[in-house]
């Protein structure tokens, strides 16, 4: 099997706004290997979120191909795309997006609904994940009872629930203070190192970006540099 988790070929995304066309992404050629930890940087409006949405099957490119685990998702019917999202993708959001009426474990269990796992298996996995992100003491808490950092840990655990091929995180540290920001990045680094989770994060923050294995720059929808970098996070 190839070692490529995700690959795009001449991928482009054009938004049509009324009569106007917005070229949010153009000619993106990207290859993400299994176990990669990549950060994407770029000015506002450069297409970072658009790229993440396309990679996460929330959006379809208007040009080119996106190969996820070798499968071209542009060929997957819209009504089947949710399965791909459920099993292959893990999303982490800037504003955490936890369900406020569910406690931590239940939030982590949510993506496992309808995957054929028993209640016990689901619970066991969710508890395992919460332990892994360091929230073994906060399992029964509702999101509003958790700190921002803790909420993001729950969100990360949720993203990992179905053992996805790739975790996509858009500005996940954007709502966190300096110390918590680094803790979350350390956690992602640890998951990447220990679980070999493939991670792509989008950030404005150079310090955050530098904790990833590789930094990509986007400008006006184009990938302008692929920077191989050795500054893998220090344990």
């Amino acid at each position: 099997m190839s070692n490529v988790a995700l690959k795009t070929e001449k991928m482009g995304r054009v938004y049509k706004l009324g009569g106007r066309q917005v070229q949010a992404l153009s000619d993106v050629n990207l290859e993400i290997e299994k176990g990669d930890f990549i950060s994407i940087m770029g000015p506002s409006g450069s297409g970072k979120t658009t790229l993440l949405n396309v990679l996460g099957c929330l959006d379809k490119p208007t040009h080119g191909k996106v190969l996820l685990d070798g499968v071209d998702i542009t060929n997957v019917a819209e009504r089947n795309l949710h399965k791909t999202r459920k099993h292959k993708i893990g999303f982490v959001f800037q504003t955490f997006n936890l369900m406020p009426w569910l406690n931590a474990v239940e939030n982590v269990e949510l993506p496992m609904e309808g995957t054929g796992k028993t209640k016990e298996e689901t619970r066991k996995r969710a508890v395992e994940l919460l332990n892994m992100v360091g929230l073994s003491e906060r399992k029964e808490h509702r999101p509003q009872k958790l700190s921002a950092g803790e909420q993001q840990r729950v969100a990360i655990a949720r993203a990992l629930a179905n053992n996805p091929a790739i975790v996509l995180a858009d500005e996940v540290t954007g709502n966190l203070d300096g110390k918590t920001k680094l803790e979350i990045m350390k956690l992602l680094g640890k998951l990447n190192a220990e679980q070999e989770t493939t991670i792509v994060i989008v950030t404005h923050d150079g310090q955050v970006a530098s904790m990833a294995g590789r930094i990509l720059f986007l400008s006006d929808g184009k990938l302008i540099a692929k920077e191989k970098q050795g500054t893998h996070q220090n344990k």
Binding site: T49, G56, R79, H82, K86, I89, F91, L110, P111
Partner: protein, 449 residues
């Protein structure tokens, strides 16, 4: 939702009351008919109001309307009960009509010697109650409200054994027997008023009587008549020697009209009503009531038509409310929908999630509606009922008790229908919002703040 349950409750109440009235009416007519048929030989004689005082000098003179007995405490109520102008009135029991004007017994002894007369039963009827004054439109009216009616019948073995002078449907204890004194039989209504049963002793005008039996009342009217020996009635009401009506039993139905005309020529001051005449009166009454029933049904149909319109409006309003609440909810939770889709929920998952919430929402509304309905239904159906009651006219005013007891019935079926309706409307109102939620683009939804 409250309206939804109240309106059917109102209709049910309307139907129930109309049916109750109809049932009571036909029962009464049938019973009265049967009684009259059994007693076609019976001739009722009462003193015509215009001949008042003809055979009787009231011990206390000066009272022109009706009869005031010597002690002044009891009175014969003109109008309300007694109905001297309508001897064959409903609910009067088997024995003749109740006259209201007193007659001197001795003046009518000659009737028994008329040819063709088999038996003569003189009776005394007196209403006991209180005068009530009520204010209406700035004027005050005094009305006699009877508590009970004393009926004294001649308890001779010949009469009580052979002629229908006493009620027949004894429900407790036993009937009056020939020669008995100091005992009464009560109607069910009386037992409530005196708070007494068989074996108890009651006070009637300061005199003690023992209750030996209770008879079942029939028909729409509350029967307030208690029966005792004529002599007891005369003494207790201070009317010794006086009666209020004479019932003549002809030897056969062939001679009834001859006997009636003989009585009439002997005593022109008497109002004479034969069984046949009473039967004819009944026919007229039946016709009148049938017309009234038709009117009542017509007004019921009208009420139902209006109610159906109101239900349609209520249903539309409920669906619209659910629709808007759910549309709002879906909008408010756009980001949540986006998140759920991002973590792998299908359109169908999202749709069913919102359908479930819509149904739960309307089910809760339904439960609240039922609770309100249970309390509001009587009031609301009360608003709908007068239309039906009006159709029955004043003669059935007393039957209104029956109506109020059946109004606002919230049956379990009605509750189920209301809850089922709520769920259905919930589904209807949620369909579009839930569909919209399921079609939300996750990308757009996640951008939404």
């Amino acid at each position: 939702m409250a309206i939804m349950i109240s309106i059917p409750a109102g209709i049910t109440a309307n139907q129930a009351s109309t049916e109750t009235l109809t049932q009571n009416l036909s029962n009464t007519i049938t019973q009265t008919e049967a009684t009259i048929n059994q007693t076609l030989t019976q001739i009722d004689c009462t003193l015509s109001p215009s001949f008042e005082g003809f055979g009787f000098e009231p011990p206390n003179t000066g009272d022109a309307s009706g009869f005031t007995p010597p002690d002044g405490s009891s009175g014969f109520a003109p109008g309300d009960f007694g109905g001297g102008s309508m001897p064959g009135r409903f609910g009067g029991g088997p024995f003749g009509g109740g006259g209201t004007t007193a007659m001197n017994e001795t003046l009518y002894e000659d009737i028994s010697s008329i040819e063709g007369v088999a038996a003569v039963a003189s009776s005394l009827q007196a209403s006991e109650g209180t005068e009530q004054t009520m204010e209406m439109m700035g004027r005050s009216f005094t009305r006699f409200v009877p508590d009970y009616i004393i009926k004294g019948v001649p308890l001779t073995s010949d009469l009580s054994d052979n002629y229908p002078i006493l009620p027949t449907n004894i429900t407790a204890g036993r009937n009056l027997q020939a020669g008995e004194s100091g005992v009464v039989i009560l109607s069910e209504n009386n037992t409530a008023f005196f708070n007494a049963g068989v074996g108890d002793t009651i006070d009637i005008l300061d005199q003690s009587f023992q209750v030996i039996g209770i008879y079942g009342s029939s028909g729409v009217e509350d029967v307030m008549t208690l029966y005792m020996n004529l002599s007891d009635a005369q003494s207790v009401t201070n009317n010794t020697g006086y009666i209020t009506s004479i019932t003549v039993f002809a030897a056969s139905s062939n001679v009834v009209s001859t006997v009636a005309s003989d009585i009439s020529s002997l005593h022109p001051e008497l109002t004479i009503v034969t069984g046949q005449q009473r039967l004819d009166q009944l026919e007229t009454l039946r016709d009148t009531y049938e017309v009234q029933l038709e009117n009542a049904y017509a007004s019921l149909a009208q009420t139902q038509a209006v109610a159906v319109q109101e239900i349609v409006i209520a249903v539309a309003a409920t669906s619209l409310i659910v629709l808007f609440v759910m549309l709002y909810t879906v909008r408010e939770r756009t980001k949540e929908i986006g998140t759920l889709k991002a973590i792998g929920f299908s359109n169908l998952n999202i749709m069913s999630q919102f359908m479930l919430e819509g149904v739960i929402l309307s089910l809760m509304a339904g439960v609240v509606g039922v609770v309100i309905g249970v309390f509001a239904a009587p009031a609301l159906s009360g608003l709908l009922l007068p239309a039906v009651n009006a159709g029955f006219g004043g003669a059935f005013a007393r039957a209104a008790g029956t109506v109020s007891s059946v109004s606002g019935v919230v049956t379990p079926e009605l509750v189920l229908i209301a809850l089922g309706g709520a769920v259905l409307l919930g589904v209807l109102g949620t369909l579009y919002p839930a569909w919209r939620a399921s079609r939300t683009s996750p990308m757009e939804a996640l951008r939404y703040e």
